[in-house]
Structures are given as structure tokens and as C-alpha cells.
Symmetry: C2
DNA sequence: CCCAAAGTTAAACAAACGTTTAAATTAAAC
DNA sequence: GTTTAATTTAAACGTTTGTTTAACTTTGGG
């Protein structure tokens, strides 16, 4: 085995598991599938993680920390106008979700189907923390009389929902958006800017206090 | 067995399978689970459907036809203004998806995880047909100079995505929207009107030609 | 009443599943 | 160099999986 691979076999298993879980689902992936694709012995998964379910927990915990920090930092910057903050959060969120869309596929699917209460709570808390950070931006803009009165929670659901639609149903939107289905990178390159523009335009109209009814 | 149950055992199996697939996923549900909850012999599922995967196909085909007709009818009504059509489609769509949210959960999850190309194509075609019908309403309003120029496909993704967020991540949004988590009916009663209001408001601002940049 | 078709059953099938074992190998500490 | 711990391995464990079998009961038409 090459020395570069040897460095962290645990991380390598996580990456392989992430891909398989995203493609075939948790129950649709066997530990033998993971072991084979990762080129490790079957027993190593129990050895490192204890069980298949613990492996999923480890995966979620590993990937979850990635986001929150950037969002919080964005909010602390007091010089930005509410509109600037919205634009930047859209930029950041679209990039982030495209970067680990496989993980977000797992989050969506596992949220619904897992029988483990711990995993479900884990996922809910991660999502809630992220949503709270976005919520601050909108309520802040409302206090400053820049944004109108809207349903804040459902506005977040619309932003997040738009994104999840695109990444979760890729080949559907490839056909709908008339983009040929190739690799991840080109899909992202073509779609990500378009989503950013759309979400900014959507939020600008939706939040603008001039559109108050 | 009561004569009412006897009427259509096949339909009963489909209903039970729909619930279990939605709750535990396709791979997370065994044919024995279905047989037990439906109170039928294990072999009856092969007898009626041929296989577990054929059962899923039968379920999708059975549930899919339900929607399209109403959407088409709505579009033919020429007396309605584009705004009326938007409002009515929102009303209809929200109600429809709440009515069979379990089925839509299965559609979302299976779209991503199935290894069967036929099922994937089946789901894509159902969704594309539905989306085409919505698209007509928006492009019609644009032709009549009532709606501004927007990204039509992504606007649909936003509407559909908002809804899927709410029905797919129920207990998350129960907590976020501060609604206690009880049965389906009360959840729907409290949330559905709120979603309708939000989506109409969102689309009104987003589509209005007066907000043209 | 009979008999072929449809429906239903318990039992069995091989394959795949997650996990464990106990022996073998490698690494690190002294 | 020896010893202890960590890593890796092939094999096996007992379940559960989807599906099939072959016998049994029910049904409806002639």
C-alpha cells in the first residue's frame, strides 16, 4: 500500500462510506461494499467504528462541524448591510452544499429513515443550529427596516429547499435545465452561479420593504 | 376477516407498503414487515406483485396518476388571470402533497437510492410532467406582461423545494415552527395554510413585473 | 356435484447481512 | 532483542433477507 494511503485509513473508510451511503442509501450499502471499495478488510470497520451505525454517526459528526463557523463569522461583521449579508450567505451556502452534496444527501435520507433516535437528534440539532444563524440575518434586516415582514422560518425553508431540490434530484434537473449530465465539477460550474443569481433575485423581491402589502 | 377488508387485499398491501417504505425506506423494509403489518401471508406479496421491487413499481404507478389531471384542467380555464392561476396551483399543490406526503417521501428517497433504472425513469417522468404543467402558468403570465423575467425552472424548484422541506423534515419544522408534534391531521391543519400564504406572498413579489430590475 | 382456476398457507431455499473470533503480522517501548 | 500492544487477516457465527415450493383451501361455472 502506498504511504499516502496509509496515513489515515479511518478517514479513507469514511470517504468511501459517504459515497456509498449517498448513492445507495444506508440500508442499501453493506459493510462488505464499503470494505471492498475502500480496499480494507471487512473486520476493520468494526475495529475502527464498532458497528455500521456507529460509522454513520462518526461520518455525520466529522462532516457537520464544517459549516457553522463561517456563518457565525459572517454575522459578526457589523459593517455589512442586511442585503450584503443575504448575498454573502447565499454565496456561501450554495458553495458549501455543492462541496459536500453527498453528505447532504445522506442527511436528508437518514433524517427520514433512520431507526436510531440518537442519529435523528444529531441531524436535527445540526440543521437547527445552521438555520438559527440564517434567521439572525433576516430578523436583523427587519429591525433595521430594510426587510419587510415575512414568514422567516418558511423563507429559510424556501432557500434551503431550493438548494436541496437541485442537489438531491440531479439528473432530473439536468434534464429540466437542459444541461448534459457529466461529472460533478461541470454540473456545479454550470448550475451554481445560476442558483446564486436566482436565490438573490428571489430574496431581493421577497424581502424588500418596498414590496410591503 | 371482515368482508370490507376482503374487498381488495392488493390495495391493502400497497397502503401498508407505502407507510413502511416512507417510514423506514425501501431497503429498510422487509417483505416480512409488510406481510405482518398487512396481516397477509408472506408469499402473497410475490403472488400479487412478483417481487419486492415490482411492488414498489406498482405503488408508484398507482399513486402517480392522481395529480396531473387537476393541473391540466386548471390551465385550460382561460378566464383566470395569471395571478389567479398561480394562487390556485399553490392551493392545489400544497393540499395534494399533504394528502399523500408518504408517497412523496418515497419518491424523494427512491429517486436517489434505487438501483433500478426503470423506477428512476418512472419517477423522473412523473415529476417532469408535473413541472411542465406549472411551467405553462409562469410562461403564460410572462407573455401577458404580468410576470417579469425570472428563472422559470429554478422558480419551480423553489416552490417544490419549499414544500418538500416541510413534509420531508416534519419533526425538524415542528420544532422550528414551534408546533407540537402530534398526528398528521393537526400538523397539516396548522401548517398548510401558513405555507399557502407564504408561497403566494413569495411568488407575488418574485413574479410581479413591477419588480423588474 | 365436480373440477379447474384462483387464492392461501407453512416450510424451505440459497444468498447476503452485521458482527465476532482467534490467529497472524506489524509497530512501538524498553 | 524481547515483550507488549496495536493492527490486520481469513474464517466462521447466527440472523435476516427475497423468493420459491408444494400442498392445501376456497371459489365459481358447467
Amino acid at each position: 500500500m502506498a504511504p499516502t494511503e496509509k496515513v489515515d485509513k479511518r478517514a479513507h473508510i469514511l470517504t468511501v462510506a459517504e459515497q456509498l451511503f449517498a448513492d445507495n442509501g444506508f440500508d442499501g450499502t453493506s459493510v462488505r461494499d464499503i470494505a471492498q471499495l475502500a480496499n480494507v478488510n471487512l473486520a476493520m470497520i468494526s475495529y475502527y467504528f464498532g458497528s455500521k451505525e456507529k460509522l454513520l454517526e462518526a461520518l455525520i459528526e466529522d462532516r457537520a462541524g464544517y459549516t457553522l463557523g463561517i456563518l457565525e463569522e459572517l454575522n459578526k461583521n457589523q459593517t455589512l448591510t442586511p442585503w450584503d449579508k443575504v448575498d454573502r450567505q447565499v454565496e456561501h451556502y450554495v458553495d458549501k452544499i455543492f462541496n459536500n452534496y453527498k453528505f447532504h444527501c445522506i442527511m436528508s435520507q437518514q433524517y427520514n429513515n433512520t431507526r436510531s433516535t440518537e442519529i435523528k437528534e444529531l441531524i436535527i440539532n445540526i440543521k437547527l443550529r445552521n438555520l438559527e444563524e440564517i434567521k439572525k440575518v433576516i430578523t436583523d434586516g427587519q429591525k433595521k427596516k430594510v426587510f419587510r415582514k415575512v414568514d422567516v422560518e418558511l423563507t429559510m425553508a424556501s432557500v434551503f429547499g431550493t438548494l436541496m431540490q437541485i442537489v438531491n434530484s440531479r439528473s432530473l434537473y439536468c434534464r429540466l435545465l437542459k444541461v448534459e449530465e457529466t461529472d460533478d465539477a461541470t454540473y456545479r460550474k454550470k448550475i451554481a452561479p445560476r442558483i446564486k443569481t436566482h436565490l438573490k433575485q428571489l430574496l431581493r423581491a421577497h424581502l424588500d420593504i418596498k414590496n410591503e402589502e
